[in-house]
Symmetry: C3
Subunit: 496 residues, 3 copies
Amino acid sequence: MAGVVWIFLFFALSLPAWAAPHSEATQECLACHVEATPGIVSDWQRSRHAEVTPADALQMAPLYRKVSSPKIPQSLQATSVGCAECHTLNPQTHKDTVEHNGYDVHVVVTPRDCRTCHVQEVDQYGQNLMAHAHGILMKNPLYGNLVEAVNGIQVLGSQGLRMAEVPAHTNDDSCLSCHGTRVEVQGTVSRETDLGEMDFAVLTGWPNVGVGRLNPDGSKGSCSSCHARHAFSMEVARKPNTCSQCHKGPDVPAYKVYQVSKHGNIYASQKAKWNFSSVPWVVGKDFNAPTCAACHASLLVDEGGNVLAQRTHRMNDRLPWRIFGLIYSHPHPKEPDTFSIRNGQGLALPTNLDGSPVRSAVIDAQEQTKRRETLHGVCLGCHSVSWVQGHWARFEKTLEESNRMTRTATELMQKAWERGLARGPQAKQNPFDEPFEKLWVEQWLFFANSVRFSSAMLGSDYSVFDNGRWYQSKGLRDMMRRLEMGRPGAVNAKTR
Amino acid sequence: MAGVVWIFLFFALSLPAWAAPHSEATQECLACHVEATPGIVSDWQRSRHAEVTPADALQMAPLYRKVSSPKIPQSLQATSVGCAECHTLNPQTHKDTVEHNGYDVHVVVTPRDCRTCHVQEVDQYGQNLMAHAHGILMKNPLYGNLVEAVNGIQVLGSQGLRMAEVPAHTNDDSCLSCHGTRVEVQGTVSRETDLGEMDFAVLTGWPNVGVGRLNPDGSKGSCSSCHARHAFSMEVARKPNTCSQCHKGPDVPAYKVYQVSKHGNIYASQKAKWNFSSVPWVVGKDFNAPTCAACHASLLVDEGGNVLAQRTHRMNDRLPWRIFGLIYSHPHPKEPDTFSIRNGQGLALPTNLDGSPVRSAVIDAQEQTKRRETLHGVCLGCHSVSWVQGHWARFEKTLEESNRMTRTATELMQKAWERGLARGPQAKQNPFDEPFEKLWVEQWLFFANSVRFSSAMLGSDYSVFDNGRWYQSKGLRDMMRRLEMGRPGAVNAKTR
Amino acid sequence: MAGVVWIFLFFALSLPAWAAPHSEATQECLACHVEATPGIVSDWQRSRHAEVTPADALQMAPLYRKVSSPKIPQSLQATSVGCAECHTLNPQTHKDTVEHNGYDVHVVVTPRDCRTCHVQEVDQYGQNLMAHAHGILMKNPLYGNLVEAVNGIQVLGSQGLRMAEVPAHTNDDSCLSCHGTRVEVQGTVSRETDLGEMDFAVLTGWPNVGVGRLNPDGSKGSCSSCHARHAFSMEVARKPNTCSQCHKGPDVPAYKVYQVSKHGNIYASQKAKWNFSSVPWVVGKDFNAPTCAACHASLLVDEGGNVLAQRTHRMNDRLPWRIFGLIYSHPHPKEPDTFSIRNGQGLALPTNLDGSPVRSAVIDAQEQTKRRETLHGVCLGCHSVSWVQGHWARFEKTLEESNRMTRTATELMQKAWERGLARGPQAKQNPFDEPFEKLWVEQWLFFANSVRFSSAMLGSDYSVFDNGRWYQSKGLRDMMRRLEMGRPGAVNAKTR
């Protein structure tokens, strides 16, 4: 069996470059763009899209296949996947389509376009929190408060500080840089080019490659968030730098923790000897320590061809917990459109203010077990059962403990609201914009998250001094001190 | 002479893989574990342990030898160092030994096991602070206070915040992740496997690869802290990522400083061209800028075979100062069991509260000179005498100056204790848990340390704005402000 | 045309090593130094300086040439650029010249020495802010206040904290580590060597490779800041680690932002496949994502040989804005000696306290347009016009907005000065040393800068939670709270 596999793989890898002829349309594009945008053309020329035709790709055995659509339109099968193939696909659904040198071309290639060949990846990805990241943030009234508190322009008026506005570009430049902007067509503009005057679409929220981008064809997400640029490289997506673009800040220090973990250490030290492009990805042969993708997405097998984990672009499949606390860590949400959840206090949160999950909104214990086992299938490729169980038991205790610390912080916050030291949800005010509230936010958004990510991957210092327990403990004391110093009469409305 | 050296080296490197037959026992292990834990088996198969027999290793000339034990038991000499060779060694001293498929197997391979072939490394390592890192932290009553202040679960009671408990798993998940846990056998558990029901040891504090781990055979430390996993790779240990696992937080930012130093720059830029596996390590041929290991541990020679520095696993050999301030920088401690030191105030610290060292506990000037010269031997491989002396003079002035700043902070702390703004050692209270005390801790644990590590390796911004002098200066002003704001009558016990 | 180019390039790369004979003097140096400083010799032996003679270098076609001086002294043309060629050049201008084994040798090779072959690079570099970095900091009375507030040793006296002194070594160890020290000859010292007693120059401020170093020959700067050590490597200078040495702190987080940008992601992932040594640097062939050097300095061409950007060592050529806010972002300064600028308030700043630029000191809109277009020439190698314009429009809006937030902070600061909560310029006091002032400094020096660098390169989290808008917003609220808490009567002079 393994022998057959290697023969297939050998065949795939030895496909000569001339096996993928370019379509006439793509050749026309290339004729100009090799000078107009040489970096783009070069990226593509080295990509698998330039080298393999869909027809050839379809002939691979299932385990080695990179196109998941069982059928691909005949018209696309015989040539490379070139400029024209993607940028002229589905012209009628693309509001950003413009006439360009005789072709109906759109700038923004979307998951719906990619779905032509990669149906499973796109459909799975669509069920991710990530695909819905724009709405999760912008349609949740509570998170909207956080966005405003962070991005609002503050000016000094006669009554103290006031929020002047939150400019649209500011959200695009900050939160939506990762969450995805809304890309809409505003019209066209005419520009002088080497070929004379040409029309181009004018887009809002552009450029952007955020994971939950709202596209001009009505789809959500951007495959190029991870499969960057025109190389569409599996290697780039599998290396942790891709994830680091959005997962490294104090709110979600996954990459920072990974870097100082044993996994990250071995990756950094040995990666030059590994193969990041083979499908399936063979543990111990292609790589010896996991990257983000290995644990959360990739199809993994051992050298005998036994599957350790099925490929998934619905990362939830391997996530029993949502360790990113908003405001508590909790079982993973059932549905990705989390903005419609309401907790016992009427807030758009998946947990109540005391930390208990909103049961109807999160997965049950059975589903958690299933996902935990799926993830452990990866761990067990390199670790014994007792190692995995010991690590996991400690990790789940840390989730619990970090929630206890967040609960104490939340109780202090509630006391501050009661005493009028800040004005929160009950007063119909933004609960994230006053000094006391900001201490509270940092407790769960920065410190508890750091402790949890560190526990998950053993990134030691992030659980102690680097935004970890040191700051959790210190912050609680500072909140208590502030609470005791405060006198209701001394409160100055929004400016305290 | 050099010619002989190269012939030896050539011989060592050209040993064919079949030169190391696997023992029967190891072959039995591999038969199952190639599927049970493919990542482990693969790691080992690529390791020197799988490729070279101890008998062959013993034949290397001293400078090229990787086994330091003059004699290795005959029974281990003729086969590779495989699963069974390590995991069945010394079964009677291992409380974690269980019967496994007819063999007495233990999970936790310890330095005492490794000592069979690597006696010098294990014995030297045992005299390091690192080997004693568990006790240094947990048996020092003062540091115990710090652990509690960081890791304790705080709850809001009627009297304000109180420390509910410090769960054992929390220490394992945070401080002891680097310092090493206590691994003890709690019994056995039976689990269904592909070979039917089997027994496994149940261990506390497991998994862990902390540098001072307390092992079930009574030994201390974990060689796999640095020689990770089953590859036991010298390359991994020599690259700075290994050290970064524990030496990168705000308390000990060695790796962060290295990254932005000229050494770290050249390493990052050029490492792909270097050889991290050769023994001895040839300056200018194998590498052109030092890693942590080059300065602190490795055997270094020039191309003519002249020794620049002898290999040591007792890193102290090249450390005249302990620049990690607890609470001041000071001459290196004489003995690694620092928890028994008492200063003039009766505190378990190697310096008095005014910064003067506890003379009986630290090395003298003569020993400092010797260690300084040993370290300079490395520097002089690539730098002129005036460069090294100029750098070192500046560095030692910075140690002094950072101690002066810490002394000012400590005087402010003492005033706060006197005025009742916080309750410290005199009041038999934890000196690290109140807001004012936390300002003080950050002065020496974060900022002074950052300044010192930065000075040692020229990691510019860590001495200025990135946790450096900016925060030292700012923190002192904040402490002074807090001191002036405080009124003894306003003090609320532990909650200020 | 391209064909000719490749023939030239082939010729250059295929120059055999023996093509560069070493001068007799250099051979004498090497005879001892191969043992005295093996790392230095090895570095040089692998460098282009050891392999190519100036005579050969001069024969390259302009686009491929690495020496810009049209004429090089005949005496230097026929041998490699060895130890003696640089360290005995211009002995009469070098105050650090000492007699060494029969030669007049100086330790500190300076840009003026390098200018012999690289006139254009040195002359351009001299017009950079960087070349003047020492004076920019130390001759500006306002920045001198900042240096003092950061580096001064604070002691506790009877009146509270007071500044004891700013030791010279402290500035060398911190700010001047990047800005460049003043290197002066203090005399000579005699040292025992393997060749008997020898004299060596004693230098202040040594060692140092800061960008604006004041050299013993009266010149400014240090080419080895970027072309490190004796390898003088173009590869090292082109990789971002070099820039990271000084451009990564909270004040100027360029490298940190780059690391989590798409550019940085692709660089980290793919760099092993790129060529960092070719001249000119071919977009899409040699590299597929820019490093710092690609955008700001290097000569870039496409595969057809079309120039996308001319080489420059005057980085200003591609910088319309100075996004490093002191205290506001503003059009780039006209002249590098910024210490002589005075704003409307008489302060040595390129902007007024309300954010408006000092028009006479900064470039005009026309020059900005020119530089913007030069920079966009690089962007357009890989991005469409609408992508570049969209990105740039958003970036410039962010500059404006970050200035608005800084203005609010400055208004709060001014109110604090008015109310006597701190003592600033009007009171002829250091405006950076009191607690309230430090909150203000962090607003523009850390947070606004982080937002701007992040916007420039899309390093998402640095614009939000990692020293970005979260802290900008929080800091303003904290300043407001502090302002309201403050009562003029409660102010304690310098110690508040």
